[in-house]
């Protein structure tokens, strides 16, 4: 396997705040998931990989080169940040023309490539609309299209699923898998939800408080935490009926219904079983799901559990 990223004891601090602390990781080709709660250092890691910030200590190599003050390398890297930065006054195609121009592309080749990536992310028919009117899922797709446009070898996707509904989430997961399988991009994707990453890859690195907690095959890591209970937030219609069904399931520890009857907090001791059962739960209860999310606190507690803190 080819080594894509090699980080050796890298540290990054912002004044008195430590972003990464003696962090080491080796990423090989394929899809690799970076999992950690908010504030764990995932975004700092991506900023280092793209050369937006420089390491204070340690050695970092991306595709065999150091990224800081190395714009040349960015022709091989596509970056999709976790925040929304798309200019609302442009339409999708104009935005991609802007991105292409920055990468030195123009003319018929750029036009052809824009059509190609719009097709890959399924945004062809909405490309002429102003981005200010896009849904969250459409904006995520277009951000990914922008990172794909110059056909980079390495794609960095920082929390691409955050804030999307379950349907869009599934579509984006399928897309990310295809980007590797069908189009040959190596992908590093971050999330604070392990189950989402699990649907894309079996290679993960767990990061917590700026340190690499564990890395390797997800099955081994999941085995370590399989007995740890998870809190899951569910939003949608028909939550009362869903609660009734949930309390009958063996994996459910407790169910708490919000007074507005649109939110449900469920604690499960076998999260993988819960997530596998979601289609069945929807069918049995007749509910309509708008959001299903493992909470950060829960993941933090998992990490504390893993590192024994």
């Amino acid at each position: 396997m080819t080594i894509i990223v090699q980080a050796q004891n890298i540290s990054k601090w912002y004044g008195k705040v430590i972003g990464l602390n003696n962090f080491s990781i080796t990423v090989e080709s394929g899809i690799t998931g970076i999992v950690g709660p908010n504030g764990a250092g995932k975004s700092t890691f991506f900023k280092l990989l793209t050369g937006n910030i420089k390491v204070n200590a340690g050695q970092l190599n991306v595709l065999g080169q150091q990224p800081w003050r190395n714009p040349a390398q960015l022709s091989q890297i596509g970056f999709c940040p976790d925040y929304d930065f798309l200019p609302g006054e442009l339409n999708g195609r104009e935005y991609l023309r802007f991105v292409g121009g920055l990468h030195g592309m123009n003319g018929p080749k750029l036009k052809g490539r824009i059509d190609e990536v719009l097709n890959v992310v399924g945004m062809t028919k909405d490309a002429e609309r102003q981005m200010g009117g896009y849904s969250k899922g459409m904006r995520q797709r277009l951000k990914i299209a922008g990172s794909l446009l110059h056909d980079p070898r390495l794609l960095l996707l920082d929390e691409p699923l955050t804030g999307t509904d379950p349907v869009v989430r599934k579509e984006l997961i399928d897309l990310i898998r295809d980007l590797n399988k069908m189009h040959g991009h190596d992908v590093i994707v971050s999330s604070h939800v392990l189950h989402e990453i699990e649907r894309m890859t079996h290679m993960v690195a767990l990061i917590y408080k700026g340190r690499a907690v564990a890395s390797g095959d997800i099955l081994e890591i999941r085995h370590l935490m399989s007995d740890h209970p998870h809190n899951i937030l569910i939003e949608g219609m028909g939550m009362v009926d869903l609660a009734k069904v949930l309390v009958t399931k063996a994996f459910t520890v407790s169910v708490e219904l919000n007074p507005d009857r649109r939110r449900l907090m469920v604690k499960v001791d076998q999260p993988e079983q819960f997530f596998d059962h979601i289609p069945l739960l929807v069918e049995e209860s007749g509910c309509q799901l708008e959001r299903v999310e493992s909470l950060d606190d829960d993941l933090e507690s998992v990490f504390r559990y893993l590192v024994g803190w």
Binding site: R69, L74, S75, Q76, L102, D151
Partner: protein
């Protein structure tokens, strides 16, 4: 040996094609000019234009008003006030706003050298300021001479002030853009420069009063006009132009260097 393909490969053996840099620069200018012109600040500019037109039209009807009055008013309204203030509003916030709202990510994660990108920002800013200030200056001058009667030298005066505004836009853009990269709150230092340094120190007698962009612009304007002396300013217009060009290049180089080494959080 690096590979080449039509899309990602603007690289060949590690050297970036000049063509790709030019495309990148052109893209920066196109999109930044559009962004600046479409920004809601145009409402402020439109209101200022109306204000200038009203003031110039009113002053033109006061008894004894002549071309010297027009010159003095254009110096006061355009050169002393509007030019630095608009340059500050547009320039100090241009890159700083993109850093703060993080929309700059697209620029700094592209292979375009950041110094080239900075040049793109600068060209866009100078072009937009030149366009806006030329319009305001032309509107103000025409209003004056329509109300006062079109006299000999009116067109020359308006043209000279437009030219000086363009030169001023080039110099002030370089100054305020670098402030936006170097400082988190560039507007404060910009205000100090415009109102304390140029407004107060610049009006002191002696050589110290000449160390302002405004003074150099007034020298250039006076040199352009045969019968009108701007703010009683004497001096070599050519030398003043050279000073401003050198200043602009120094600020531009400094800003580009700071931008290249800037960590964007």
């Amino acid at each position: 040996m690096m590979t080449w393909n039509p899309y990602s490969a603007i690289w060949w053996g590690g050297e970036m094609y000049l063509e790709a840099s030019i495309i990148g620069l052109r893209t920066m200018v196109q999109f930044s000019v559009k962004k600046l012109l479409l920004h809601k600040r145009w409402v402020i500019v439109a209101m200022l234009t109306l204000l200038v037109a009203g003031v110039m039209g009113y002053v033109a009807t006061v008894s004894d008003a002549d071309i010297s009055t027009a010159s003095n008013m254009m110096n006061l309204l355009m050169l002393t006030f509007l030019l630095p203030v608009l340059a500050l509003i547009y320039g100090a916030s241009m890159i700083r706003n993109e850093i703060d709202d993080r929309s700059i990510i697209q620029v700094i994660t592209s292979p375009l050298d950041r110094r080239v990108a900075y040049l793109g920002y600068y060209i866009s800013l100078a072009v937009v300021l030149s366009i806006l200030l030329s319009i305001v200056t032309a509107v103000g001058g025409i209003c004056f001479f329509l109300m006062n009667g079109w006299s000999d030298g009116a067109a020359e005066l308006i043209t000279a002030f437009i030219a000086v505004q363009v030169i001023g836009a080039i110099a002030y853009s370089a100054l305020f853009l670098v402030m936006g990269v170097a400082l988190k709150q560039p507007i404060y230092l910009g205000l100090v420069y415009v109102f304390v340094w140029e407004g107060y120190v610049g009006s002191l007698p002696g050589a110290i009063g000449e160390y302002t962009i405004r003074h150099q612009l007034q020298v250039i304007a006076s040199g352009m006009l045969h019968d009108v002396n701007i703010a009683s300013t004497g001096g070599d217009g050519g030398m003043a132009a050279i000073i401003l060009v050198v200043l602009s290049i120094v600020f531009l180089a400094l800003g580009a260097s700071l931008f290249r080494d800037k960590e964007v959080m």
